[in-house]
């Protein structure tokens, strides 16, 4: 019980100021290491401030002091009771070659589901075009895909001037930003319990399947592979991984068969979702460059065989990266590779 409030505040204030100083330093330099003595002192000051707050809470005449102490205790609480790993200094290579592929593998179930939904969309789009070629305008509402594929191929192969001359960099930047936006949208739609993400993945699959069947039926398979493979083998997996991130979020929201509170489930996956979406952005930067600088050039400028070989190498490297990179560290930590 506090009898003389003023004396109480005067005697305690130096401790509060010291705690505030330590907190400001900790917040400014999150990576600093404290000695055992400093940690003990910090903890003692926190406990003292918390006790002071408990004593002053019922004191109606000191709302300012109470608010100040509440803020102080809240800040110290967040430092002392935080059990999650402290943010380390930025290690881009370690993140790229260890954290990203390991996170991808940790949520592989969501990736297979994302792939399955896209393949279902592909099958639907392909069958629709095969059985009803007139549905093209509905399935592929893009002007450059409306015509006969054979006409387009002939036109592209006979072109003498570079239609992207002087515009490749801006076209590439447009592709990167547009596709990254779509990917973020696929992730964010995970908050609709995954329904929005699934619809987006299915629709992407429908367009892909419809385009593929349209070109195959027109006998332009080689052109199709040469056109899509150099960037598509990176861009399509990137969209699938964005879908994977959205489904990871949806799984956490639904929480089938888990007796963990929603907040805890979301806390578990939050870091992984961000890792995946940053990985997606990186893949889309590469895909954007390839699409603008290589994919739009056809025979006789670039042989189809070379483009298909380039795409195949990219796909193998990407699969190896996602399947094997960082596996040794996973093994060391006793996780599945």
């Amino acid at each position: 019980m506090i009898i003389d409030l003023q004396r109480f505040v005067a005697s305690e204030r130096p401790h509060w100021t010291e705690l505030e100083r330590i907190l400001s330093k900790l917040e400014a330099e999150p990576n600093q290491q404290m000695t055992l003595e400093q940690l003990q002192r910090f903890h003692r000051l926190y406990e003292r401030a918390a006790a002071d707050l408990a004593r002053i809470t019922t004191f109606s005449s000191e709302p300012e002091t109470r608010r100040y102490l509440e803020t102080l205790v809240a800040r110290a609480y967040s430092e002392i009771h935080e059990t999650r790993e402290r943010p380390r200094r930025l290690q881009p290579l370690k993140w790229l070659f260890h954290e990203l592929p390991r996170t991808f593998r940790r949520h592989i179930r969501a990736f297979w589901l994302s792939l399955g939904i896209t393949l279902a969309g592909c099958a639907f789009g392909g069958l629709a075009i095969a059985f009803d070629p007139d549905s093209k305008s509905v399935l592929m509402p893009f002007p450059h895909l409306q015509g006969d594929p054979a006409d387009r191929v002939a036109e592209e192969e006979q072109a003498t001037d570079d239609r992207l001359a002087g515009g490749k960099t801006s076209f590439s930047a447009y592709l990167m930003t547009h596709n990254t936006r779509v990917s973020i949208f696929a992730l964010a739609l995970g908050m609709t319990w995954g329904v929005g993400t699934m619809i987006l993945l299915f629709y992407n699959g429908v367009i892909l399947g419809a385009v593929a069947v349209d070109y195959i039926r027109a006998g332009q398979t080689k052109f199709l592979l040469g056109w899509l493979m150099p960037h598509g083998v990176v861009e399509i997996p990137a969209i699938l991984i964005a879908g994977q991130a959205g489904l990871v979020l949806a799984f956490a929201l639904v929480g089938w068969g888990r007796r963990v509170p929603l907040a805890a489930r979301l806390r578990e996956v939050s870091r992984d979702i961000v890792t995946l979406i940053f990985g997606v952005a990186l893949l889309l930067v590469w895909a954007g460059l390839v699409e603008a600088f290589l994919s739009q050039y056809h025979e006789p400028v670039v042989p189809y065989a070379a483009k298909i070989a380039f795409g195949t190498v990219e796909l193998i490297l990407l699969c190896l990266f996602l399947a094997r990179s960082g596996a040794s560290e996973s093994k060391r930590n006793g996780e599945a590779p």
Binding site: E64, R66, G166, A188, M191
Partner: protein, 261 residues
């Protein structure tokens, strides 16, 4: 249950509270941020207009990348750099914090900002606003996913007690031990009700004013029993004025006021 206060109980048994920001304040703060983003984009466009003369291709690329980086990165950079605040949030004294009182992490900042894509649907944050309105902790979908809340820390203004209490003899002060007991037993909420009633006394109808102060005085009389001579001839309103005086002003402050007078 919907509440405007977030209570956090520490393992030591201490409870501290944070006021949650409502959808309207947050929307206004977002309006300021929207203006900031617009200004940044306008500045970028002016700079790129110069580059356009040298290379239209490069200017086009930088424009696309700059627009993307500013529109998405503004919230992330500000909230990470300023510990949960943007320009709009600073102006409205709002701050993003972890819903359980822990340190705000980078991935939380990124998650809540990326999920704006859904929260801002269809236009003008309708989904986010609705979620915020329905959520017990005033969270939009991005906050739910990132496990964050937006709190407000309004600037506390001291009531003008001198104007309210000046020059009046306070018979309760003759009994310092009872005054100390009263200050212990009156909760902050009760003291605030009494103070508000006195500050707004002229707004009440005469009959309502008498009834209100009789009820409040009765309530405070039950807290501590003062001797009859301390309460002799004191109306309910004056009694309440005396209670507010001893609760809000210590003896030292009173001396200072008298000396200044």
């Amino acid at each position: 249950m919907k509440t405007s206060t977030l209570l956090i109980r520490t393992p030591e048994g201490i409870v501290f509270s944070q006021s949650l920001a409502g959808p309207v304040t947050r929307f206004l703060a977002w309006g300021i941020d929207f203006l900031c983003i617009a200004v940044l984009l306008l500045t970028l466009a002016k700079l790129l207009a110069v580059l356009q003369v040298i290379s239209a291709n490069m200017a086009g690329a930088l424009s696309a990348l700059g627009y993307f980086a500013i529109s998405i990165g503004y919230g992330i950079a500000c909230e990470w750099g300023w510990r949960g605040q943007t320009v709009g949030k600073k102006l409205f004294r709002l701050r993003v914090m972890d819903a359980e009182g822990f340190r705000l992490q980078f991935h939380q900042v990124v998650t809540r900002n990326l999920l704006r894509f859904v929260d801002s649907l269809p236009p003008f944050y309708f989904v986010g606003g609705l979620a915020c309105w329905l959520s017990p902790k005033c969270q939009r979908l991005g906050d739910v996913a990132a496990n964050t809340v937006v709190i407000r820390s309004p600037r506390a203004t001291e009531p003008d007690l001198d104007q309210l209490l000046a020059g009046k003899y306070n018979s309760l002060r003759q009994y310092p031990h009872l005054v100390a007991r009263l200050r212990q037993r009156v909760s902050p909420a009760e003291a605030s009700v009494a103070l508000q009633a006195l500050l707004r006394r002229d707004e009440f109808d005469p009959q309502a004013r008498i009834e209100l102060f009789a009820m409040l005085a009765g309530h405070f009389r039950e807290k501590v029993e003062f001797p009859p001579e301390a309460l002799d001839g004191i109306a309910d309103e004056q009694y309440l004025r005396n209670v507010v005086d001893v609760v809000y002003r210590t003896r030292t402050e009173e001396r200072k006021v008298k000396a200044a007078a």
